[in-house]
Amino acid sequence: MPVPVDRNEVRTLLEQEGAQLVEVLPQAEYEDEHLPGAINIPLKTLDAESARRLERERPVIVYCHDYQ
């Protein structure tokens, strides 16, 4: 099961475990604003091919705009 995390846990995962940040919103929204270092893989394009951009050995944190 994916683990829900809050802001502080995100910062810890980034700083201590080299986590990868993935924004899953459409490209235009990503280009407007995104977390530092995040890459963009929109949910509609998230498949085995696009997921190759991610390293399996490192934690992955996904996010969108908010709870919606």
Partner: protein, 159 residues
């Protein structure tokens, strides 16, 4: 959306998947850095004066008034021990000549904006409401500082 993305990544064999459910709205509202077209420099948090007068609700108005005057500001934010904004002393309150506890003189629940509020929108609001300043607080209510209209207009022109 992010829970579905997290589940999909797990189905693709990723073993350590985390879901930041509060997302970038939460991140930016807390005043943390953001990148992109509307990067941090386009938000009020980057242009707020952070060294502004503050006091506690039980402080005496006379002492606060003198301190605020000496600082060159004409307003003071009343915060609790965690820095959460409880109220504001404006010009009228600071002009009173009595010496009551600040809690008796402060305006409750002043309007604030988040550090992530866009500079262009802040300028628009200050112009339309004829405001010279806007207080900036994080999503947990802690005071970040004050954005001055003249500073916001100058910063906006340089973007």
């Amino acid at each position: 959306m992010s829970p579905r993305a997290a589940s999909r990544l797990e189905s693709l064999g990723f073993e350590r998947v985390y879901d930041y459910v509060a997302g970038k709205a939460d991140w930016a509202a807390f005043g943390l850095a953001i990148e992109g077209r509307w990067h941090s420099g386009t938000r009020v948090g980057a242009h707020a004066h952070t060294r502004v007068p503050g006091c506690g609700p039980s402080d005496r108005l006379q002492e606060v008034r003198e301190r605020v005057r000496a600082s060159g500001w004409d307003t003071c934010f009343v915060t609790d021990e965690r820095g959460v904004v409880l109220g504001r002393l404006g010009r009228a309150a600071l002009a009173r000549d009595d010496d009551v506890p600040v809690a008796e003189a402060m305006m409750l629940g002043p309007s604030t904006v988040r550090p992530s509020f866009r500079l262009d929108q802040a300028v628009k609001r200050m112009r339309s409401q004829n405001l010279s300043t806007l207080p900036v607080t994080r999503s947990d209510g802690v005071l970040v500082g004050i954005i001055r209209r003249e500073d916001a207009e100058r910063a906006l022109a340089s973007l």
